[in-house]
């Protein structure tokens, strides 16, 4: 039973020592330790959330990147398509133009030919006329004696030419 009776001296010293140690340790040990631990805990939580955020951002960026890539791809196909169209158009236009040009040239050539032909015909007619005149002169020189007849013949000839 004596065991259960607390000794006053030890009780007294324990109480004093414990009160001191609680207050001193609170100030010099527990406070810095707990602050550091909580700071670290907060730091870790922050780091994790930062990592999550960065991960999300990365995912975001990746999708953006994908969108951009797809866009670029589409643009490229578009560009290629347009280029092809343009090429076709240009080629067609060139063909068209060439055709037109050719036609024009042909026409001109034809006109030229026509013109030349006409000129040639006129020339031939003139030459024939002068030949006729020369021949007629020769003939006429021979038959100049008969004046009346000559005039009549000239008229006849002249009429014939006109009719021609």
């Amino acid at each position: 039973m004596e065991l259960l009776l607390p000794g006053f001296g030890l009780f007294f010293w324990t109480l004093i020592a414990l009160l001191f140690v609680i207050f001193l340790l609170k100030k010099f040990a527990w406070k810095p330790i707990l602050e550091a631990l909580n700071e670290r805990e907060k730091g870790i939580a922050d780091s994790i959330s930062a990592a999550e955020r960065i991960k999300a951002e990365m995912a975001n960026m990746k999708s953006e990147h994908d969108v951009l890539l797809n866009q670029a791809r589409e643009e490229r196909t578009q560009l290629l398509k347009e280029a092809k169209e343009t090429k076709d158009k240009i080629v067609n236009e060139a063909k068209e133009q060439a055709k037109e040009e050719a036609n024009k040239i042909m026409m001109e050539a034809r006109q030229q030919i026509e013109f030349q032909k006409n000129a040639a015909i006129i020339d031939v007619k003139n030459q024939i006329g002068s030949l006729v005149i020369e021949v007629s002169e020769k003939v006429l020189r021979k038959e100049l004696s008969n004046k009346a007849e000559q005039n009549q013949y000239i008229n006849t000839l002249a009429n014939e030419i006109k009719l021609n």
């Binding site: 065991l3 607390p6 030890l10 007294f12 324990t14 020592a17 009160l19 609680i22 330790i33 550091a36």
Partner: protein
């Protein structure tokens, strides 16, 4: 764990040294033809070895050499005072006794005298002197006498006047030592945090203490105390580490027995009790004096029970639980070791034969006590948190439900 093993190893070395020492001491005495039987010296050697090995002071009751006893005990050297032996080891004393050798009046005590501080309330006189002034109970000093009862040192005044004893006894010195250990351990760790900052990995002892602090914060304080847990963390941490360190020191061979002393555990419980009362709220007192949702007739029975359980049983149970656990552990280990001498008093062969059994059992008990040391520290801290939590708890839904019935 390692600490205890290292201490045991050191003690084995020491015990080898002591064996030689005792041989040297006893040899001339034997040759002088003194009344020291061979049996007794053998017993002393075995006892010294075992007690040194297994962590108790090697002061053997028969060898205390107090003024009145030696002559009688010398004749009855076969008879063991088991009760005195056990209580002698776990009780407080006015000097720190390490070991003795020699017999009776020739006994040499190796002990550290401690200051005795006495306040005589009858004469209003303060006496401060070293316990060596008593010469191990051989002489009275300043009107006080030292005597031994059931292996426990006690003081009495010669004229019968009453006095207050606030001596720095062995336990008080142990208290200061353990608090010194606690102080240097924790401020050392705090310094590491200050120097290294919060974001550097812990090193050394910091590594061992940090998870414990985290455990108390997350598993003891937060679930029981809610949002205001931070206010009670210093108390809980100090209680836990104080109890744990003292439980472990109690296993060491230097005679620490603080948490196995009711005065210490009562002081611990008193601190908890004051903190609980100082922080208790209206809700807590309301539940004691006017339990909600209880018919008037029942209240007459319930209120005294509530008062008893909250204001008496909680702190006293805390104090007694810790004291009884640690005290019991020490008593069992001592008893197991003393079994050797009980058997030896029957027959020498039986005593020697029982040595391995006893050593095996005490090793087992030491491992158990290592576990108990941590568990009891945790239980005390956890219950402190639970009880404070109950005292600061706000009006909860359960009580609301009762009110509306």
């Amino acid at each position: 764990m390692t600490c205890v093993l290292t201490a045991l190893f050191a003690k084995i070395l020491l015990s080898i040294f002591f064996l030689r020492e005792i041989h040297i001491t006893f040899a001339p005495e034997l040759s002088k033809g003194m009344r020291v039987s061979h049996k007794t010296s053998m017993k002393s050697i075995v006892l010294a070895t075992l007690l040194v090995l297994f962590g108790m002071n090697s002061s053997f009751a028969q060898e205390h050499g107090t003024a009145s006893e030696p002559a009688i005990e010398h004749h009855e050297e076969e008879k063991l005072d088991i009760k005195g032996e056990i209580f002698g080891h776990i009780s407080d004393s006015y000097d720190w006794h390490f070991f003795s050798f020699g017999q009776g009046h020739d006994a040499n005590h190796i002990s550290l005298p401690l200051p005795v501080i006495l306040f005589n309330t009858t004469h209003s006189k303060l006496d401060v002197f070293l316990s060596s002034a008593f010469h191990h109970g051989h002489e009275p000093h300043a009107g006080y006498e030292l005597y031994v009862e059931n292996g426990k040192q006690k003081l009495k005044t010669q004229d019968g006047s009453s006095f207050l004893d606030v001596s720095i006894t062995k336990n008080v010195l142990c208290l200061f030592l353990s608090i010194g250990i606690l102080w240097f351990l924790m401020t050392g760790i705090a310094k590491k945090y200050k120097v290294n900052g919060a974001h550097k990995a812990p090193t050394g002892i910091q590594n061992a203490i940090e998870p414990i602090i985290g455990f108390i914060q997350d598993n003891v304080a937060k679930p029981n105390l809610g949002t205001k847990y931070m206010k009670y963390m210093p108390l809980l941490l100090t209680l836990f580490f104080f109890i744990w360190i003292n439980n472990l020191l109690g296993l060491l061979p230097f005679g620490f027995n603080l948490t196995g002393n009711i005065a210490v555990t009562l002081a611990l419980a008193l601190i908890f009790f004051v903190v609980m009362l100082a922080n208790s709220n209206k809700n807590f007192w309301g539940h004691i004096f006017n339990p909600p949702g209880v018919p008037l007739g029942i209240k007459f029975i319930l209120v005294p029970i509530e008062i008893l359980s909250n204001l008496l049983i909680k702190p006293v149970a805390l104090a007694i639980r810790l004291f009884a656990n640690i005290f019991a552990g020490h008593t069992i280990i001592l008893s197991i070791i003393l079994l050797i001498f009980i058997f030896a008093s029957l027959s020498k062969v039986a005593g020697v034969a029982f040595v391995p059994v006893s050593v095996g059992f005490s090793i087992f008990m030491f491992f158990l006590e290592l576990l108990v040391a941590a568990i009891q520290a945790f239980i005390f801290t956890n219950l402190t948190a639970v009880f404070i939590g109950q005292a600061i708890e706000e009006h909860h839904h359960d009580a609301d439900g009762h009110d509306h019935h």
